[in-house]
Symmetry: C2
Subunit: 455 residues, 2 copies
């Protein structure tokens, strides 16, 4: 029988339901709190920002949630995504571990983000929303939402972190091609933006600031809602399509992973591939290790504190129970812009607190080393975010070797690096810098927080 | 039954043989001539440049040529490529034509070029070649060959047209990532390059000049061969994997094309998708229209002359029977760098002369209009080269409407445009220029040619 490099599912095998891990978690997540009253918020508190169907999904305890046919139709542009066996990387590493990766880079915007952008745009459309505002860092989320809004005929306004806006004109242009308006953040279009610019007219912006702006626009404009590309429960759930497909593909391959790895920003990448496998730990006693690979420049999982914190910098969002470095923490300027976020979503935070998942932190040089190895061995040039997962795989392979065991490892190759070539240029030019925070630097923003610590 | 957007083949369905149209052409191609003696060249004349297996393929009359297992293994990184039904574009155009496209942009370098780069590197490897020199314009071919050489452990030296080298640093970097050396052409490393620089120290270079340099390096260095990304018979044959897969996919869809369309530079893109369908015209009396879409800035098929001409600017290659504008013709600086070549391959030229295929020329503004329409309707951002095919599809759809008929149209979406965002920037900024050559300008270089005119 000939060696199978990648396992494709037919289109009809695209799952018809997402998996909602809230149905199976041993301990439920703590509720979000209203920042004024410190009381749990209700659906009506979120209604100015999100369509009701997404609010329902946010708190749903149903194990399976139907994927609308209209969403599945759009998924067909790039889904099911292929599951690859990394024969090339295995050979290069000289390992007897089996390495698989799920490749999400064939989507229109080149990452896993459209998996949630499409249903979010769809539910907004169904509830008569005319415009969606959002933020974007490196641009993956903004371009995914632009694509999705274009499809459903919704206006899209993207607040893009100013330093990325200036450094990544092509990502901006991609959003324009799909009809979106892109505004460098902080901007003078919102109170939040003006407040930041007053304090620092030269502010380069941050994801937290851009969220403040986009939320304000949605909260104060007619027929306008807000969309977030990670962190929230419904976003994580939409991404489970990745792991659910992978499950079927492993069945076809007659194999099953011992370890599942994904890069970690706010949680959607990691949740997407790992939650359907974690389910087996909860329901059938498996012991799959699920590892989140975060950047050492923003180590909320490995060094943060579990407490209530804001999702944005200015403090406009509800308080979420999260592993956080404080909502004013400024991550080092690494190239993996998608991972530069101060906190982790509530579900992932609860799972980590309960020691049901693991986390590891990686410096960017090690990541780019891994990324270039991967490009040579497998042909695909990974996005800087994705290289964090690859670095993690390489460490786990070393560990297996030391322990004299063979493991089956799955990781999420969440996107390609074609829009991130300047990062590779810096790598080859020896300009990449690893940033080592002192504990004092890491915890400075937490000390000033006066939000509740759970438990 | 649910609507199928894209048709995937399983990996085991990757064809085991390429299709060699030379076996079925009503009139064979004329032989290449030695530029000194004007006599047909033999295998020994090509031996300094190519491994013997590729020379054999160049003149083979066998209908089917086996694809080596080692090549099929590498193909598995991105093949079989999906065949899409363009429901979105059909809707946007309001047509009752059925539009399909074969998408080659999921390959490591983002275009169809690795289909031939991989076997070329493989045959060189088998014959002990240590280094391959080549040229590249926009960079698609250079990056494909870099990837292939990296895989088989061969050194790769790419002469990149200087203006592209300066304007497209990311394509260069991609080649570097796969271990290739990239040299701006004209360079002072070759006699050909020095000769050009003497005449014009500020030369921006051209594909023809870069070919001269790469050919010289191969002809004068130990264990070094040359590789070409289009034009030659064996290159065209390797690309037939595209059309052969599409044939199987149409069978799965229970459909068959009336019209097959592809962008045209040197012929490999067009040959790749159309030759397996032309076979049905030759062998079973079908009347599929196969249309080559060339740029109006380099209209060799629609305005060129059928005569013997050189493949390069300096005049180092054998003379090939081709539709040409003259080997010193300088195409207008359009963004579709991959189509800026003065001549067409011998097979395609013979087919056009025999009126067995058609050609149409397109200005770049019409092409980018079509490309942006496509991105909005289908989600995928096409390469500038690919937009020529899309513009052609749109015209054929109009024609079908005028004639009150419904056609099934297939085109080759040969690559994505993620490395060509600056072209889209120019488009959105209104900076794209259409160039209208006068007949005098078009034929100036032909007049000076003293090569034979066949027949």
């Amino acid at each position: 029988m000939e060696k199978v490099k990648k396992i494709y599912l037919a289109e009809k095998e695209i799952p018809h339901q997402w998996y909602n891990i809230q149905a199976d978690m041993p301990n439920p997540t703590l509720p979000p709190l209203h920042p004024g009253t410190m009381q749990p918020i209700g659906p009506q508190d979120l209604a100015p920002l999100f369509p009701m169907e997404l609010i329902k999904q946010e708190v749903s305890q149903d194990r399976w949630v139907d994927i609308p046919d209209e969403v599945r139709e759009v998924y067909k542009i790039w889904r099911p995504s292929p599951l690859y066996r990394a024969y090339g990387l295995e050979k290069l590493l000289g390992t007897n571990c089996k390495i698989y990766y799920k490749y999400e880079g064939n989507s229109p915007s080149g990452s896993h983000k459209p998996n949630t952008a499409v249903p979010q745009a769809y539910y907004n459309k169904m509830e008569g929303v005319k415009k969606i505002s959002t933020e974007t860092g490196a641009g993956q989320w903004g371009s995914a939402l632009s694509f999705a809004c274009q499809h459903f005929g919704i206006e899209c306004e993207v607040y893009m972190v100013k330093i990325s806006y200036n450094q990544k004109p092509y990502r901006k242009l991609l959003m324009n091609t799909w009809g979106a308006t892109v505004i460098p953040s902080p901007s003078d279009k919102t109170n939040a933006g003006r407040k930041i610019l007053e304090m620092n007219p030269n502010s380069n912006g941050s994801l937290g600031i851009a969220i403040s702006e986009a939320v304000e626009v949605a909260a104060t404009s007619e027929n306008t809602k807000y969309a977030l590309g990670s962190v929230l429960n419904h976003v994580l759930m939409h991404q489970t399509i990745i792991g659910l497909e992978a499950e079927k593909q492993f069945e076809m391959a007659g194999d099953f992973p011992d370890i599942v790895i994904a890069p970690f920003g706010g949680g959607s990448n990691f949740a997407g591939i790992s939650f359907p496998f974690l389910r087996h730990n909860f329901t059938s006693g498996k012991k799959i290790r699920c590892i989140a690979s975060e950047p050492a420049s923003c180590p909320k999982l490995t060094k943060g504190q579990f407490r209530y914190d804001f999702g944005d910098t200015v403090g406009m969002t509800p308080l979420l129970p999260m592993f956080t470095l404080g909502h004013t923490f400024m991550p080092a300027p690494i190239h993996a812009g998608g991972l530069r976020y101060h906190g982790a979503g509530a579900i992932v935070s609860q799972l980590l607190k309960d020691k049901l998942i693991e986390a590891q932190a990686y410096q960017q040089k090690e990541c780019f080393d891994a990324g270039v190895k991967f490009a040579k061995a497998e042909g695909i040039l990974p996005a800087p975010e994705a290289t964090h997962g690859i670095a993690n795989v390489i460490r786990e392979v070393s560990r297996a070797k030391e322990e004299g065991v063979s493991k089956t490892i799955l990781f999420n190759l969440c996107g390609h690096g074609y829009f991130d070539m300047s990062a590779y240029q810096d790598y080859f030019d020896g300009k990449l810098v690893d940033h080592h925070f002192t504990d004092e630097e890491l915890y400075a923003n937490l000390k000033e927080l006066n939000t509740p610590i759970p438990g």
